[in-house]
Every structure is written in structure tokens, then in C-alpha cells.
Symmetry: C2
Subunit: 77 residues, 2 copies
Amino acid sequence: MLKEEDNKLKRTFKFKDFQEAFAFMTRVAFLAEAKNHHPDWSNSYDTVEIELTSHDAGNKVTKKDHDLANAIDKIIL
Amino acid sequence: MLKEEDNKLKRTFKFKDFQEAFAFMTRVAFLAEAKNHHPDWSNSYDTVEIELTSHDAGNKVTKKDHDLANAIDKIIL
């Protein structure tokens, strides 16, 4: 579950290795593109950090962020 | 060309949109996996920031970083 903090929804995901981490990122990328709402995110080897905020709403958490967060959470169930 | 700064090779890449940015990241991901040397990187929509350093050499820039940097530079020629 992504947690709200500083007007962002945030979560750090850990995987087995880089391949697993990047496979997850690829699935998130397709979701983000389909929803036309994109994460701010970083990756280092097995770790992916995601932050969601709505830049076009003045960097606040909106329904778009919650929708994408819910879809991301479903990937890793 | 990635530039050396603070014991890292760094560069910010700008693309047309998220699809182009993530397509580039996918190519870098395959290179990184093939070389077993992975970037620390972040993405926000059309922008990708890459930092390369050798964690296993005490966070210094090594030949592995230069090799990956050169391969990344060739992607976007």
C-alpha cells in the first residue's frame, strides 16, 4: 500500500534482483501510460522507490494518484 | 557523455515523452544486466537521470562505470 506523506503517495519496493525490479517497473510503466499519469521513481538494483503526486494540481495527491497507486498495489499482490 | 562528479558518472537525459524515456531505460536495463553492472537512476515523465558508481569498489568510478557509460552514450547517438 502506498502511504501518503508530504503531499505524495510513497512506497519502496524490494525485489529479488534487478531483473525482477525492472520487470515490475515495466508493468508500472504500461499502467502509467494507459492512465496518462506517471510516477516519479528511482531504481537501484533490487529496489524501486515510487512517489505519486499530481503536478498539474499543484503537487497534491488526487484521485489520479490513488487510482495509479491501487493499480500498482494489484501488480504485486 | 556522462560526466564525472562526486565519484559518480552522471547525466540527465531528456526525451519527447514518457514512452521515449522508458524505451531508453529498457535498452539501458538490458545493457546493465548483460554487463552485470547496474545504474542508480530516476525517471520523471520525459527525464531520466543516471548515476554510475561501483558500490563494490567503495563507491568509486571504475572501468565498469566507464564501460556502461560508453554503451549508454551509443544508444542515443
